[in-house]
Each structure stands twice: as C-alpha cells, then as structure tokens.
C-alpha cells in the first residue's frame, strides 16, 4: 500500500496506461474513474491530480463528477464491503430488516467503516438478482433469500 507518496505505485501505472488509451478524449473521464474505483476501492486525491493533469480537466470538475455518481467514493471502503439491496423487489421482501441487522452486528451505519477497517456497509438499489430477493452481497459473493437471522453466520465467515 502506498498512499500519497507516489513511489512505485503499480496501480497508478495501470491508471496512467488507461488514461493514455483515451488519447486525450475528455469524455472518457467516467471510464477512467470507474477503473480507479475498481482498482483502489475509492478515488484518492493524488490520483485525481494525475487525471487532472493528463486529461487537462480541472480538479473541481473531477470532484464534481465523482460526487455526482454513487459508485464513486472519496473514502476507502472496508476490506469486506457488505451491501444490502434496497431495490423495490428486495424491499417488499424485507431487506430493510436485513440491513438493520447488519448495522446492529457491525455497530456502524451505512457508509461507515469499522474501526479495524475490515467491514463497511452500503445499501444499493437493485443488483438485478431480484429472483433471489432479498439479496445481500459481501464484496462479490452474493447471498440470496436472506433473512435477518442469517446475517450473523454469514458475517462470521469473513471475521
């Protein structure tokens, strides 16, 4: 992990490559930010600076785009990001109860990270697996047909 000092940052090299492929096309900003979000789990300020210089877009504009879209985050997420779907199909099947249980067990609210940096919680609007409603995901693992009583056991797997 290298935060901020820019030395031998492999991820940053990868991002620079992605930017290079854009050939200065500013309309690719969201594409670049998606890559950063994917790679880092958030969009650090020093990476924003690099994008700003390479694509010649003001920092303020980049900040504006980042904060507009819910997929982008300015803060790192936990090692395990627990996401509960609050889309309509999941909601009418009781996903709020699942989310409440996750919050209770982890002792944090939506958008927060546990002190040890292990877990973060997020609520999403439909992951598209409505056939499995209510749905909870931990990173890329999908848990369908959830109910609050299953939460503890699932989270324990990641302890």
């Amino acid at each position: 992990m290298c935060e901020g000092c820019n030395c031998n940052d492999e991820r940053l090299e990868k991002i620079k490559e992605v930017i290079k492929e854009c050939n200065g096309d500013k309309s690719q900003l969201i594409h670049v930010l998606n890559e950063v979000q994917e790679l880092y789990g958030y969009i650090p300020t020093y990476v924003q600076k690099v994008i700003s210089e390479e694509l010649d877009i003001p920092m303020a504009e980049i900040y504006g785009v980042i904060t507009f879209y819910s997929r982008f985050s300015l803060e790192p997420k936990g090692k395990y990001n627990v996401s509960v779907c609050l889309g309509t199909a999941c909601y009418v099947k009781g996903s709020q109860g699942v989310l409440d249980k996750v919050k209770e067990i982890l002792g944090i609210d939506v958008g927060q990270v546990t002190k040890d940096g292990k877990f973060s919680i997020e609520s999403t609007r439909c992951v598209g697996a409505c056939g499995l409603a209510p749905v909870m995901t931990v990173n890329s693992d999908v848990y369908g047909n959830m109910d609050p009583s299953k939460v503890k056991e699932i989270l324990a797997k990641y302890e």
Binding site: K26, S27, Q28, L29, I30, H31, L33, N34, Q37, E61, G64, V65, F68, Y69, S70, R71, F72, L86, G87, T88, A89, C90, Y91, V92, K93, G97, D100, E104, T124, R125, C126, V127, G128, A129, C130, G131, L132, A133, V135, V142, G144, P148, S149
Partner: protein, 620 residues
C-alpha cells in the same frame, strides 16, 4: 471481413449444429445441455455447474453432448436452470452436487432425474419447459434468443437469422423504406413513455449535420427491473445489429451504448459481441462490402438514476455530471457532442431486426390497436414465479399475476402492482383486468414504464411504499432544478411524519398540491414523474393515509412506530422461546408462566412472532 456469401455459409453450417435446440422432432444422437448464465443464476453458482458438467462429461468420455452457457430463461425464482435439448427437460434449482447424477442418469442412461424436475405452482413436476404454466401465455419476440444461444458466440446468433436483417437493409432497402417499415409496425419506445419509434427515427434523419450519432439507453435504473440487462446478457448481437440498422436509416456512423457499470456480465458480453462484429466486418468501414460505415462504443454509467433520462444520459456519455439539459433543442436536433442523436432503449432496439425480417404487418398483428408487439416485464416482489416475462400487449394484469406469475405466495392476498417504478403508479385489485397497453395504464394513474412490475401482498403498507419511492427520488434527484430537489424532499418529510405516527389532518392535501406543482415545473422526466407513486397510492388507498393520520394506525401493520407487539396471555405457555430469541432482551417472564414484553425496550422486529410455537404473539 466476411462477405454475404461467407455469412450465409456460417449460418447454414452452425444451424446444422444447433437446430436441435429448437427441433422437438430431432431424432439424432446429439444433446445440448443449456445452462443459464444470467446474473440471477450466476449468483446461485450456475458457472460452477457448467464447470462440473464439462469435467464430468470429459471424465465419462461422452461424445455427443455439448454444454452451452446461455442467457436468461426467465424463471429466475427457480434458478439455476438447466435445460437438456432436444427433449426439453427442465431442471430447476440444481446444485453442483446434482451434476453427477444428471450426467450419469440422464446423459449416459437416458433417464430423466425426476427429483430435479421443475415443479409448477401446484407441485406437479413438469417434464418439458413448454408445459410450464409460466411460459404458456408468453410470446417471445425480444427474448427469442435468450436461453437458446451462447451469447458469446456470434456464429450461433448468425445461425438463427442473425445479421440477416442488416443484410436485407443494406442490399435491398433505402433509409426511407427502413423508417417506413418501423413506422408502419407501430413500435413505440419501450423505455416507458411510448413515443412512436418511427417518428423519432424520422426526426433524426431529417436533421442535417456533418456527424450524427445513434445511442442506446441501457441505464436500467428502475429498481427491480432487469429486462434490458437480460437482453444484453442473453442476446447482445441483436442490439449491435439493430443499432447498425438505425445508423443506416438516419445516416449516422458512430454509436454509443450507455450501460450501468452495475451490470458487469452484460458489459462483458456486449463488448465481446462488438469485438466479434468488428472481426466479421459487421461493424467498421464498408460493412458487408456495401460501403456503409458504422462503429460502436460502450460507455459505462456510474450509478445515477437520472442518467436514464435522455439528455442527462448524453451529458454522462460526454463524461460530465449527468444533469439534464433543457429541451428544446431535442436530441434529434442537438444531442451527443452537440450533434443530432437518435436514442432508443435496449428493448426497442431488440424489436427492430424482427420487424425488418418479418415485416411491419406481422409486428402490427401482435398487441392492441395503439400498442403493438410485446412487452417484457421483470416480475418481482410478492409473487411465486419471480422472473422475466414477455407478453403480447393487451394481456391483463390478472393473467400476468395468476396464470404466468403463479399467484401470491404464503397464502397472502394480492394488494397492488407497481409499474414504472419510482415514476409509475400502483394498480389495485379492482383494476386487475385492465389490459396492459400504454393508454389503459395511463388512464388508471399508472404507466407502462420500462418494465419493472412489482407485486405487493396485503402485508405492504401503501403509505410506506410511497415513502420508499420518494426516498429513492430524493436520493437520485440531480439537484439542478429546485422543484425536484426541494419539492420531493418536502414530500418525503410529510410521508416520514405519517409513517412515524405524527401525521396531521391536511397533510394529504399538502402532498397533492406539492405533487401537482412538482410535476408541472420540473425540468426533466425524473421530477415530472416523481410524485406519481404518492398520487396513485392516495387515489386508491386514501383510507390507509387516513388511518395513519387520524387513528395513528397502520392497517397492514408494517409501520412499526404505530404497532405494539403483544403476547396473548391465554395462549402463552411460558416456554421462553421468544425471550431467548429477542435481540434486545425485551421479553421477560418465569417459565410456564405467561411472558411479557417491555414496550420501552422492544424494537418491534417481529423475531418473537416468528419464533412462538403457539402463535401467541402478534402486532396490534
């Protein structure tokens, strides 16, 4: 680049290999095992099933069987789905551990594994996919290839008449003729508003410019809707082909597909389709040697509902904040990068190749007088057969809910259906026999919408549902225009007060007044439709609003602030099961004596209600 002759040769050769998937009278020895690779089934491990199938088939050295990963079959509630063709055996909810038995018993022994067969709602096992009630009233046009072909194999798409419509257009039709065919078919926009597609194409064609664009809206933001995703996952080439046809018709050379980044499988398959089409010379310069040029690029969204609105989408494609632009100028005049742009929804495009191949009159023969063709719905919520359905326009909601959807689970009663998501409205039981078409749905205060169809049973509180949707729109309002940014927030505050038991007389009227003003003065479709769920629930469930306000009571018992959880002393046997399960230790008592709930501690979660073996606990 492939010539028309070469494409035709590929078509014939591949069709020979895969026609057994459609041919029920096939008598040869080949078998194809189709496994759903859509998001729903992938989430329940269909990819591991495919891997195990392939391993096992190799291990047993079975020669005449091919495993195919397909797109969505539709019946997501019973996933993962495995279908063996040509006999059309439908295995549902299969697990990796079941694979060995399927291979040994069915593929080697020729004997159906009865215990894994899909069961209909009444519990009878059905042998063939066609026998399932879920499919009987469906009519697949848009989804014709989903669950039939490998979406990552262009040859399979070509085999079932793929790129034949593009060939027909390039070799024998003028742009005017293409637009006339689309106009005559009566196709209307499937994104929800229902604007005549042919007219839209005409506008874009009539704009004069040095550069024009075609764009596809695949930013399916309506929560609970997954029609477009399933088309992109199951039949991506149908979109590539249709966009090329549209580009030819309006005179564009470049296209963009705007897809949600939340749909990784759809994005991946669409990219594969684009790459393959480029390799075959079906995208690029001089397509099919006919001098027509068109190329396609994917642009990813990043989680903003408003980007489903056409002008906001264009801002986002340009890499900016997705804030809507004032109209006019309309996109057909000034769209992407300031150039004339044709924007259609995924499902709209998915109809195009069929209209070109089968003719406008064929398409117009399906559906009702003003709403032609079929509509795909993502059926979800409190319904047995959750999944993807495609029905002819004009079918009634009752048929969708009971015949196709298999009714409401857990012995509950149907209360309402929500179409159009946060922009639409609810349809109560009294309107279950309304035909599904654009005008009829508007008349009863709802809308066609993009295809999300959420069914709610009698445990759903309609006031809380309205609050849920407003919470969504407040969250997703881009903030550019005040009526939407501030108005929806004010509406949400009133609704939050109501569900907390603090509603006041006159609040409903306040909501209605705000709603009307927001609808009238918002800049884009998001704000103009955001109050719809509130208005339609007031229209059909006014008594629930009144109960919340005047009696401080939630009739369905969903609003926890207004309910108490009580133990019936007569029924309680003092077993202590509830007190052991209570997450906040609110239940105390002595064994074999009636227990009691400390109302100050109780969080009304309902765990005790579900736990009590004597049904002694209930909400009052």
């Amino acid at each position: 680049m492939k010539s028309i002759e070469e494409l035709s040769e590929i078509r014939q050769r591949t069709l020979e290999e895969i026609k057994l998937r459609k041919d029920r009278n096939y008598t040869g020895k080949e078998k194809h095992v189709l496994v759903c690779g859509g998001t729903g089934c992938t989430s329940s491990h269909s990819m591991e099933i495919i891997k195990r199938l392939e391993e096992k088939i190799k291990e047993k050295n079975i020669q005449n069987v091919r495993v195919v990963r397909t797109g969505c079959f539709g019946l997501c509630a019973r996933g993962p789905i495995i279908v063996v063709r040509p006999e059309d055996t439908f295995y549902a909810m299969a697990k990796v551990e079941d694979v060995d038995e399927i291979v040994e018993k069915h593929l080697v022994g020729g004997e159906i594994v009865e215990r894994l067969l899909c069961k209909d709602i009444d519990g009878t096992a059905v042998k063939s996919l066609d026998d399932l009630n879920f499919y009987k009233k469906q009519h697949r046009v848009v989804l014709k290839n989903c669950g039939l072909i490998d979406p990552e194999n262009i040859d399979e798409y070509i085999a079932f008449d793929g790129y034949k419509a593009l060939e027909k257009v390039l070799t024998s039709m003028t742009p005017e003729e293409v637009i006339k065919e689309v106009s005559d078919s009566g196709l209307r926009g499937r994104g929800g508003a229902g604007f005549p597609t042919g007219r839209k194409w005409e506008f874009a064609k009539n704009s004069v410019a040095d550069q024009k664009y075609v764009a596809c809206n695949a930013d399916e933001g309506d929560p609970g809707a997954f029609m477009d995703r399933s088309v992109l996952e199951g039949d991506p080439h149908s979109i590539v082909e249709a966009m090329a046809i549209a580009a030819y018709a309006i005179g564009a050379t470049k296209g963009y597909v705007y897809v949600r980044a939340e749909y990784p499988i759809a994005v991946k398959r669409l990219q594969i389709a684009i790459d393959q089409a480029q390799e075959y010379g079906l995208l690029g310069k001089n397509i099919m040697g006919k001098g027509f040029e068109f190329d396609l690029e994917i642009r990813l969204g990043a989680g903003a509902f408003v980007c489903g609105e056409e002008t906001a989408l264009m801002e986002s494609v340009e890499g900016k904040r997705g804030e809507p632009r004032p109209r006019p100028p309309f996109p057909a005049v000034k769209g992407l990068f300031g150039k004339p742009t044709l924007l259609n929804n995924v499902e709209t495009y998915a109809n195009i190749t069929q209209i070109i191949l089968n003719g406008a009159s064929w398409f117009a023969s399906i559906g009702t007088e003003k709403s032609k063709g079929t509509k795909v719905f993502a059926l979800g919520g409190n319904i047995n057969n959750v999944g993807l359905v495609e029905v002819p326009m004009g079918i009634t909601l009752r048929e969708i809910v009971y015949d196709i959807g298999g009714g409401i689970p857990n012995g509950r009663k149907f209360k309402a259906a929500q179409t159009g998501g946060p922009s639409g409205g609810c349809i109560p039981e009294e309107h279950l026999d309304t035909p599904i078409d654009y005008e009829s749905l508007i008349a009863i205060g709802s809308m066609m919408g993009s295809g999300g169809l959420i069914i709610m049973d009698d445990s759903t509180c309609m006031v809380n549902l309205a609050r849920f949707f407003l919470d969504f729109t407040v969250d997703e309002s881009c903030g550019k225009c005040p009526p939407c940014r501030i108005g929806t927030k004010r509406m949400l505050e009133i609704l939050e007060k109501m569900v907390a038991g603090k509603g006041q007389v006159g609040d409903v009227e306040k909501l209605e007044k705000l709603a009307l003003n927001i609808k009238r003065s918002s800049l884009c479709g998001l704000g103009q439709t955001a109050p719809n769920p509130v208005l339609s629930t007031i229209r059909y469930f006014r008594e629930e609003y009144d109960a919340h306000i005047k009696e401080k009571r939630c009739p369905s018992g969903e609003c926890k602030a207004m309910t108490k959880v009580m133990i019936d002393k007569e029924k309680c046997k003092g077993c202590s099961a509830c007190s052991r399960k209570c997450p906040v230790n609110a239940i105390q008592g002595e064994l074999k004596q009636p227990f009691e709930i400390d109302q100050d501690k109780c969080i009304k979660c309902g765990v005790c209600i579900a736990t009590c073996p004597f049904k002694a606990i209930s909400r009052v």
